[in-house]
């Protein structure tokens, strides 16, 4: 994505704050952050109209690195907060960020409901299969043979398939990117932000300190070709369940009206049907 195309002249750099990220050298999250800057420059989103809602964990620190409004919340609760921010002021651009622990463990219960509501929020999940801030325990997406401090004999649990889960929940935009493929990842994030409704961008974003899987990922990723029709849910499931390679790109799409539009319609309809109300009038109903 070219930054010089920017009509108002905001470059990716100008979305940077002077806070230096806490991440380890080589962390995939640096790549994701860069792609977010580039998306912002591409979209020319005014910093004051952007809210980055972040979870807890290494990736959760991201909100402090974007020159915009930010809300660094509690572990696993990014989506409810993002729902409140966007619903209260639909004019804002709301980007939610967090890690795999946030999204697929402690906060996993919120994903189907964000999907049902179709909140107009792009959720970028930086998935490294580990809990980095607590020094490398396996997360819900870690392979079952993964040994860590809390799983010295291997993970007892099977890994979750976040893409298949997202398609099952009928999330309106489901994509997978790789932090080491920034050009394509930027494009996915742009599409996720442009999507009118809930978008999940699952990013393979390896942890170089506790679980460096750059190499095995790099060997297995492939970009989805133009032959894939993301509106075909069955085909999307097939891609999600693919084992030999890791398909990158837009896997599933289902357009429908976002939550704040439906909430607005209720306001308009009830006003049309029952008229503008005052508290005084409401009180009179109780005479």
């Amino acid at each position: 994505m070219s930054e010089t195309n920017a009509p108002q002249g905001l470059t990716a750099k100008e979305y940077k704050t002077d806070v230096h990220p806490v991440w380890c050298p080589g962390c995939g999250d640096f790549g994701v952050l860069t792609c977010i800057y580039r998306m912002l420059a591409t979209k020319q989103i005014p910093p004051e109209n952007l809210v980055v809602v972040a979870g807890i964990g290494c990736s959760g620190r991201l909100s402090a690195y974007v020159n915009s409004y930010g809300f660094h919340t509690v572990h696993g609760r990014v989506l409810p907060v993002a729902t409140g921010v966007k619903t209260a002021n639909p004019n804002l651009e709301v980007v939610a960020v967090g890690g795999d622990g946030d999204a697929y463990s402690i906060g996993a219960g919120h994903i189907p409901h964000a999907a049902r509501r179709n909140i107009d929020v792009c959720y970028i999940v930086m998935d490294n299969e580990v809990y980095g801030l607590t020094k490398g325990q396996g997360s819900a997406t870690a392979a079952s043979d993964f040994t860590t401090g809390t799983t010295p004999y291997g993970q007892l649990d099977e890994p979750l398939n976040p893409i298949a889960m997202a398609i099952a929940y009928d999330i309106g935009f489901v994509a997978r990117g790789f932090s080491a493929k920034p050009k394509e990842l930027t494009d996915l994030i742009v599409q996720g932000v442009e999507h009118k409704g809930f978008a999940l961008v699952e990013v393979l974003s390896p942890c170089t300190t506790f679980h460096d899987i750059y190499k095995p990922i790099s060997q297995r990723v492939r970009f989805i070709g133009t032959e894939h029709d993301p509106t075909d849910r069955l085909k999307a499931f097939q891609l999600a369940l693919e084992r030999e390679t890791i398909p990158l790109g837009v896997i599933y799409k289902h357009e429908r009206s976002p939550f704040h539009d439906r909430a607005r319609k209720i306001q308009v309809d009830s006003l049309a049907k029952r008229g503008k109300a005052t508290v005084d009038e409401l009180l009179e109903q109780f005479q």
Partner: protein, 582 residues
Amino acid sequence: MKHDVVFRIGGEGGEGVISCGEILTLACARMGLEIYTFRSYPAEIKGGPAMFQVRTSKEFLLSQGSEIDVLVCFNQEAYDRHAKDLRKDGQGVIVYDSSSTKPQNGIHAILYEIPVSEMAKLELRNYLTKNIIFLGILAKLFSIDFLILETIIRQKFGKKGEAILNLNFQALRAGYQYVEKNITKKDDYLIEAQKSENRLVLSGNQAVALGAIQAGMRFYAGYPITPATDIMEFLARELPRFDGTVVQAEDEIAAIGMVLGAAFSGVKAMTASSGPGIDLMTEFLGLASMAEVPCVIIDCQRAGPSTGMPTKTEQSDLRHAISAGHGDAPRIVMALTSVEDAFYGMIRAFNYAVRCQVPVIVLSDQYLAQRTATVRKPEVTKVAVEEAKKPTSSELEHYKRFQMTDSGVSPMTVPGTKGGAFSATGIEHTEDCELSYEPDNHRRMSEKRWRKLNQILQGPDLFRRHGPLEADIGIVGWGSSEGVIREAIAMANAKGYRVAAFHPKVLHPMPNELGDFIKSVKAVIVPELNFTGQFAKEIRARYLTDVIQLNKVAGLPFTPNEILKKIEEVAETCLKQTHHKV
């Protein structure tokens, strides 16, 4: 003739006990009388004992009363359960279904026996008409306006079609005519219409919802839970007309998360729940304190712990409200004291929230939430609505979200404000939102966050004081017991004791005047509907002085007599030397 009457209707859940009580209540209110209800029902939808109590009078009512004047028994169990609460002087009335109920021999009361079940089955051919037959009986016995009853029944059942409506009218007449033909009135109770203006019949939950809308609340998120759900149902219907939104969240964690998000966006936001839901909100409560997000959380308390007794009242969430969550997290805790106070109290709650940029927990309880009472129509502009302090244009030039100020309150921007961007966080931070683990910074920021609470320690409506200016015994209750306490101290003072009451509306931080009150009396009684004496402990800790606890854990509210009894006991034991009777 007696015009202050306590009716209690008892029966099986699903038999129409509650709707019988509601119609009776509305009829009395429309006759211009004051009403005050109390309900207790099973948590299950059908089955289990249900009870509805309504007190009606020509004078303003402070409580549900101590004893029953008229007991209406739908079945034997209702009789067995409630006859003991009937007034003891023999003037009490029992109206009962003789097809199902047998009073014990020699009970000291006026009895009216009517074969209601039989009438329902044989005459009306529908067992479900029992409650309306009882209404017809009460109408004739106590002169409740028949036309008003018909109008209410039409409003209630009209939508269900002509057949159902006519059946209910028939039932009403059947009850009325049975009394006309077969019963000679032997009691002294009479419901007499009077002129009254500007009065509403509201429940505590309705008053909470209305007050919140008046305060400017435009975002509500919640998860259904007894006894708070009516607030959400009311708002779901009405808030869209005020350009507001109600979200039914997937759980209470999500509900308060959404509330914080909306409040961060600059919209006044709240959630309402009960104990189990409030438990789940705890982590976000800490974030609201740390990130200084103004928001309001209603706790309609019910008997706990755990699932407890969902439909029964209790005041046992106070300690949780004051201290829930890890770390020292400042918040304001208020307790609503009456249906009328619930309306104004909600406006104050939002004012406190935006003034101090803290979460405000508002304690209600099942007794208040689901009680209906006649109230003077609230003056909607009586309590001025406040907004959060915004930065000036010069402050925006070098904007610091958590700028150190004397009051501790920093100007707050909302997304969309150019130059005002900041990143809120639950991590300890500097004035400028930078994360900081420096010892001195943590101390300064903790002080700043707590200092903000001083902003509410002045001003009206922090407490109410009742009774004589000089008193021997002081009652310090809280929340929904205010009316009961007022009635009890009036009774005590009439008997010659000198009793006053101090009723704080803000419980945390504690109003300074409470200390002066405690010093001014010889003994302090703290009545609470909990086992451990939660407020009593707070008072002892704050003032290093002992208080006398009066605890009731029955899932039921206090009655004025219970408080009076304690006053008499304390007067006998603690004040023997100084106690003077008139």
